[in-house]
Subunit: 344 residues, 2 copies
DNA sequence: AGTTAAATTGACAGCGCTGTCAATTGGCTA
DNA sequence: TAGCCAATTGACAGCGCTGTCAATTTAACT
């Protein structure tokens, strides 16, 4: 029933250590030996014991995913992406939800790292943007990968960040509206503490500028990443029978856009005939509205998978480096039914 | 930096084994000894090494949460509930998303169990309703706890199930509508493969019966647990200018209800003045609609925590039994703005 | 006090694997 | 062919803890 590394060694006619080398893809193993061992592994269906590896080795076989994010869809995508890579690599995934505002979080964080003897961790926004956490990890010289909102040129010299180009996404979405003849394009921003908010806003501004449209500050609503904020924002922007003449609204994310959509419906505004609305992220949320949202697709499960790859590439130097790790993602626009030409 | 059980033993002036006994809350430890050891543990801030415990002991210190559920909110709640208990008990949580329809799932399942040397697992619907999985676990004599939709009387004799009384929830919600004077109460059902669907439907029927209202099959729409299904269901039920005279709709869950809400809005039906709509589960979804949904609150994080407790109580017989584990949950109605008196 | 059983504690091996370092092999040059 | 270095392999200890079982202490009796 239980197959140990010793059984494999006997069957292959080599030492345990050599089997260990094969399992861990260490160099200095002859091709022939490798094949013999591998066939023995397969014949016995050998499964390395993670606990023993953790105990005996210097580095452990567990990575943590740390998040403080109310968006369940986002979290699940992150988990699944990292998890799939972990399975391939034979690692365990420790999930660690936490509150970034909690004062004792750092302690709890430290305890977790000690207890689990982690090989490394993946940080998602907004924790990945918190300098004190980064410092703490650097102090402990613990490998980590950050998921951040940012542009490619900002990633130079760093080799532990995965950037999502929210600037470009916002730029593209704004141009989508502009090309549809929209002039008065409003923006319901997300939480301003999040870097994604400032990046998206910057992209929006740049697109306006590049298309010779003037920026009207009253078309910007400073809100939060929530449905309700979208409702409030849209109500505010469209107040007084839309005296501002808004014909398009960028929601800070899909939830915000869904809220805006709802508010517009309540005001008997036809979507997209009278008003175009777009979101960001392409969460399942964007398909649960009616009409479905035009949004910027961001493959969070893919992104998180690459984050995991990057982490693994840093963790095990003995293994050959993976060369196809993408560290810069640019969301691409998905046009659905919530946007269209500007009304005449 | 690294504190081992040996350090604690020295400081406390006892053997390693005694420290081990204290850590594991084994019986046969004098109160005085216990206190001495515990103070040493605290002084050194000793953290047991999970890998070593797993390796040395017969049972491991990891439990798995297995799910096949597209509802991210549900999954997150489940995770958090089980996770909080795991932290208290010093266990690890292994999350295992999988597809119940996938043919090779059982194999993968087995592999996971072998690899991780699990102490036990928590199964959520619809996996918890699959007999082949139950059989497999029984064969391996692996402890598990099932989360199921069902009524208290059905839980007798079983000690590995946590029941959510969807019957009672549906009964209560249906009566809520009835007491508001509704007569033509429609129901957009969820997936009929899920036991929660049949339970909720049964509760609805019972409530109608107990209040001397006749059951009209054409007021039932067989749908799915999705927003879109809610839209379609409501459209169907309210067709032809509501010739069926529907004044209230039960959504199979909150997503369905949200869909129904949206469809009604599109038809310019006022909620709740002309039509009452209710959901189930009280997911964040139900607060992201406008008006907010009346629904049946189901504290999934609490439920999953009790599932974990139940599992732990079965896992370590040496530890004193927990007596306050709730194995039967009855959701309670939360009245918000989407329901009201029947129109005249 | 003396005896006996029960409760409490400790010594020690070993869980399955990897790190260290020494032994062996093979490939190459002179 | 001998000689030498690098590549490859193996022997062995030990990671931090728990199970086993024996040693010791305590309590409960004649």
């Amino acid at each position: 029933m239980k197959v140990t590394i010793n059984d494999v060694a006997k069957l292959a006619g080599v030492s345990m250590k050599t089997v260990s080398r094969v399992i861990n893809k260490e160099p200095s193993v002859r091709k022939k030996t490798y094949d013999i061992v591998m066939s023995a592994v397969k014949e016995l269906n050998y499964q390395p014991n993670i606990a023993a590896r953790n105990l005996a080795g210097t580095s452990s076989f567990a990575v943590a995913l740390v998040y403080d994010n109310p968006n369940a869809y986002y979290v699940i995508d992150m988990q699944n992406g990292v998890l799939s890579r972990c399975k391939d690599e034979g690692y365990e995934l420790v999930i660690h939800p936490c509150s970034s505002t909690d004062a004792q979080m750092q302690d709890e964080f430290k305890t977790m790292i000690q207890r689990s003897r982690l090989a490394g961790l993946v940080l998602t926004p907004p924790l990945s943007e918190q300098q004190d956490i980064i410092n703490l990890l650097d102090e402990m010289s613990m490998p980590y990968v950050r998921l951040l909102s940012g542009r490619e040129e900002q990633n130079e010299g760093k080799n532990n960040s995965i950037l999502v180009n929210d600037f470009a996404a916002a730029y593209e979405i704004t141009e989508h509206h502009i090309h549809h003849g929209h002039k008065n394009i409003a923006f319901v921003l997300g939480d301003k503490e999040h870097k994604s908010t400032t990046e998206r806003f910057a992209g929006y501004l740049q697109a306006l500028k590049d298309n010779d449209l003037s920026f009207n500050p009253s078309l910007v609503f400073e809100g939060h990443y929530s449905f309700e904020s979208g409702v409030n924002g849209a109500k505010h922007l469209l107040a007084d029978n839309n005296k501002l003449g808004v014909t398009a609204i960028l929601g800070g994310n899909d939830e915000v856009a869904a809220g805006a959509l709802f508010a517009a419906r309540l005001m008997n505004i036809e979507i997209p005939a009278q008003l175009s609305i777009s979101g960001f992220e392409d969460s399942p949320f964007s398909r649960q509205t009616w009409p479905k949202l035009t949004t910027a697709h961001q493959a969070n499960n893919v992104i998180s998978e690459h984050a995991a790859r990057l982490l693994f590439s840093k963790t095990r130097s003995s293994r050959k480096q993976e060369k196809d790790i993408i560290t810069n993602f640019t969301p691409s626009i998905v046009v659905r039914e919530s946007t269209g030409p500007a009304p005449l």
